[in-house]
Symmetry: D2
Subunit: 389 residues, 4 copies
């Protein structure tokens, strides 16, 4: 294996570049580079993952696509004023870096844009980003708003058919999948941090495999679902019989606003609800709700009520309340994923990056939902690679 | 290894035989034997642990020591009336078996009893229990009220010194340790389900090692602490910085009443508080409180407030509320431990049974506090033993 | 005013006579009569309301209409087994009284029954109930399942038109309104403990006024909404600005099952949601959800998240969790209402019984939603009447 | 009655002038004057209280005593950085006004200072404050740290004896009482916002009555106790039997630190615990805990578990979690109290200001603990006075 240098320049291309998560990534990377904050929440800065020759935090250049006219700095200002994120000192000290990200932002795929032309344009944007910034590699991460679920039809089943349909602009593909195709064609790793379809379409997976592109998703595991992935195994491992698990989420950011539309909500609930059933089996009644409560802004608050039966039919309950700031929880995971995906591609990895399962609500090709095992898998990956060098 | 039969008769000797946990074990074992309930909460009835040739549930005879005049049936009636445990149908159907347990109950060690005589008497009780019931082996489990912490002095450091002091009735040893000595001398496995000293005294450990007796403890992990042992690792593994973890427990049973005494409470708080510090390090402020709220009876309610810092210094919180019935949570663990400890001894095992760590708040000789790893260790033990046969 | 005697015999006629609330009323009244329980939760047994010459608890005869084939004793058995209500001792001691209630139960109005015939039949049932049991008066209380909201059309606006339409079987009226008409025609007080239409239709109110019949409703205020009616005034009175109030209810009884239908849920949410807006004004975002979680049975669990702004724009939160048993909360209110409505009618009262507002989520003709003021109004009523005698 | 003008200049003298509450009062009054914030949380800005001719917010001059060397601006900066209070814009815009408050701050009474000299010095400070700022009247409010409970001895029973003992420096009086004496001697209203003794000593009350000075206290009712004062009456008024009420408070500010000392905590718990017993009677077991959790800073978090029995012995529970910022909750109450106390004195009022009970956990000479009635009393006072004019 070719030795790789930590000081190589890499790119992090964000679909949804002016959104809350992207803005927090932008200001956060700048603050880390300028030593204004500690790398709290980054597994890539802790052993054993940090022993991998990942690109240095200071060598990551951020750019992305965005369909909104809003600039990153506006998102930052709003998160500060409405949700209390970031100190004014950090905002001031990172302002120039944030402008640089804004300059690296390109117009995203519009709703009725011709699909083939859109893919071609996105590919040009990605290439140009890499060239202008002299980047060795670029990781593409989707942090845009959740799309409605994609209904898979025969045209989505093989790359031949899909490619033909694309050329004729007849393929019903959401924007997330067009971005995925563009990244894959450019052999850039593509990571889907949302529940949208992205690369998780049979034809696109076939294409990624053929080209040896790295892909992974779906839906970043930041809060309530993270708790489910440690608590559900605990109930199972203690032999307690969970009768019902009712989760209620309230939040007020644009993510919440988008999820107010029934179609987008359907996508989200699928990934949120799956873990409990998958770990505890069909005997557990599950319910997951998401509601838009404007005043909460970026503070996602979740109440989960877990009703379970123990010995001698005794019925007991556990409840938890999670009060997390979505952007602050998601941003370090996105940075981790960019570094790990780029490293995987840089060292010849291809296909689905199942070792990154711990970052996702619905990890591709992974049936293990227990968080502790997913973390162990990532650690093992790091230890194996470190030893191999 | 000699093949052992599942239909061997074994004994489960409970210190505190008329207490809530013991009474729930007695009625529960009878109900299981009579197929009135399902084995919810018993790991020994689930793969892979169930593949071990453990003694059948129907072959376990229960007896024990008790200092209170109260009978098991009275405790059962009180748990039913005040805490809503057990159906009347189960109480009626198991009444004869419960009487049998009462007949197997002997007077426990009194407060100022001569230590050497007490040990001798307990040994006779244990031997007689085994003989009368034609038991192949007896597991002794301490489920009595929590004792104040034992101050270890030089006399506790070597068996020679301790044995001499015992004979002269000069050894300051709590009852739990006298029972432990009696069990060890009889080569019966001794398991400490409470935070009392029990066998965890250097001199007694030395004696157990010399005689090849199996020991384990301390303090059954049933509720709030079980949650700590899955949640603390989650915060660590996500790189989130836990600033403070404040746990408040309220309960109303006799356990709670005893814990109202500052000395007993000190023992309990030590085992409850240790896990968080052990997993998250000294940077986390911890606070654990236990209060006696009479109306709650056996329903232990816990509120834990976990304050943590994420990316960019964002402060967030998780809170949980646990409403568990202590006896119903503890009883299946006690049954599991009896079967597993007896099996270990039956197959030539000796010393500290570290593979049983998942059952304890403060497992002897085990520094791993992550519940998922402790469960994996037990499963590995079961798989290794099953394959070896 | 004619003196009235406490030992007069009165009737309590329940629409939904085999449902959870009705069954709890039946067993509860019997247990009170037999001095097996204390009158916890009955305002009519506490000063100053108890100083009114209400009919004695032992003189209340229960009967009702029911469309289900289920008997009261089956409901009682199910509530006992699944929700832990009632001791077996009370169930046994009240069995004969419960049978008597069953014998007083008549077939309810079926879905497509002819409206005029149904009203006539119900009137006969009510008269026969009073006659056979030698009752001085009967109070009719609707505790049946929630119906979808009624769309008021011109035919519902005047009694003339409605009566004509009824005869022609052309009046779209839900069963609750047909029962209300029957009661009113019989000059029996009608109380609506559900959010269904009942007597709250302009034409029926007109008729009640013409005949001097007493009516009141709607929707018993038992749990989450009761809390709203003390907490919302507190926030207002402290000048705190409530930004959002998100309430989530989960429950598993038949009430919950019926509310799973969107139409019935709409009725319920209207009465549940109104209080907060009414007290705090339109500036507060409100959200109320009800979900059917089967394992909870009769245990309604509610989580309310109240987000508010204080001085200097500081945003704070209060959350509450309510774990109440719906039937046990509702039954004493129903008994209170029967006694108070009968007393009101017995002493010449007519029209809307606004002094009973404290019992309802959406009290008819009352705009005061603050619980403390509603209670004060009831107390004032009792004091005025007591002094007047 | 002499007409009084809203534009009169009045003084607000704070004992504990650099503490969290005082600093929030200082910045808040400035921000209100400059129209940077809305008067959220001020009853004196809402009808009917606002109809009284209270001194205008812009005419209140702030000063005070402080024993710490810390300046108000440092407290403001710390509250901003650690607890997220105030926007930077407000901090900047109010900086000059805050400096003015600092210039009005005088050295507080030291631990072993001669009592008579201390009183004399404080009186001079108060007079000089009024003179220099041309104030018509000054209200003195104690917002200093909680003191240990005062043991009342014969010397505290009459003013003659106490005055003699004071001259001889033999009277065991805490600082709060010396400030109270100074204010009373100057005929300035004295309000005790803490659980310390202040003016609530028989001899001092005698002196206040003799001089016609206005006094009130004790302990501002801001959060958990405010909830108790609406929820306890609700349980009582519904006839529900509260078995236990267990309240747990965690907080991290200096108030919390002081309360970590058992003596100071004893003062606090007395006022916090009293309401529930007073409303619900001795049958309810109460428990109140306060713990210092440093990371929470000014964010007081409380969990209350209320266990109650309803009809047919059914046991149910309500729990609430309160997450409030102590300073932001207290500051508007302090401003209200200053205006209302000054107005009362200005219009010839004397003695204990019982109409201000709604502001206190343990209101002097008031046995009514129901918040809604206390608020009604204040409103009635305002309406009576308004009409009288």
């Amino acid at each position: 294996m070719t030795p790789i240098r930590r000081d190589r320049r890499i790119g992090l291309w964000l679909i949804g570049a002016s959104g809350n998560v992207a803005a927090t990534v932008a200001i956060g990377l700048s603050a880390l580079r300028r030593k204004l904050i500690r790398p709290v929440g980054l597994l890539t800065e802790e052993l054993p993952v940090s022993s991998l020759p990942l690109a240095a935090l200071s060598r990551i250049v951020v750019g992305g696509h965005e369909i909104d006219r809003r600039q990153v700095r506006q998102t930052i200002a709003e998160l500060h004023e409405r949700s209390g994120l970031f100190s004014e000192r950090v905002i001031r000290a990172t302002a120039a870096d944030v402008r640089a990200v804004e300059r690296n932002t390109r117009r995203g795929i519009a709703l009725r844009e011709n699909a083939a032309l859109a893919v071609a344009r996105v590919r040009r944007d990605l290439r140009e980003f890499a060239r202008r910034n002299r980047l060795e590699r670029v990781a593409v991460i989707n942090v845009a708003s959740t799309e409605p679920p994609l209904r898979i039809t025969p045209v989505h089943q093989s790359w031949d058919r899909l490619a033909t349909a694309l050329k004729a602009n007849r393929a019903a593909l959401p924007a997330s999948s067009l971005y995925a195709i563009a990244a894959i064609e450019e052999r850039m790793p593509y990571v889907n941090f949302t529940p949208s379809a992205g690369a998780d379409v049979p034809a696109i997976r076939e294409r990624a495999a053929a080209l040896g592109a790295c892909i992974m998703g779906a839906d970043g595991k930041t809060g309530e679902t993270l708790l489910k992935s440690v608590l559900a195994p605990m109930f199972r491992d203690r032999g307690l019989r969970v009768l019902s698990w009712a989760g209620h989420n309230i939040l007020g950011n644009r993510d919440g606003q988008v999820l107010n539309s029934p179609a987008a909500k359907a996508s989200k609930l699928r990934t949120k609800d799956g873990i409990v059933k998958s770990v505890l089996g069909p005997g557990t009644q599950t319910h997951t709700a998401i509601e838009f409560i404007e005043s909460l802004d970026d503070w996602k608050t979740a109440w989960d009520h877990i009703h379970f039966e123990g010995f001698l039919g005794t019925r007991m309950a556990m409840q938890f309340i999670w009060q997390g700031c979505d952007s602050a929880l998601a941003a370090p995971l996105v940075i981790d994923l960019a570094r790990l995906a780029e490293y995987h591609a840089a060292t010849g990895g291809t296909g689905v990056m199942t070792h990154l399962a711990c970052y996702f609500k619905a990890p591709m090709d992974v049936r293990e939902h227990q968080f502790s095992r997913q973390i162990d898998a990532l650690r093992r990956y790091a230890l194996d690679r470190t030893r191999a060098r």
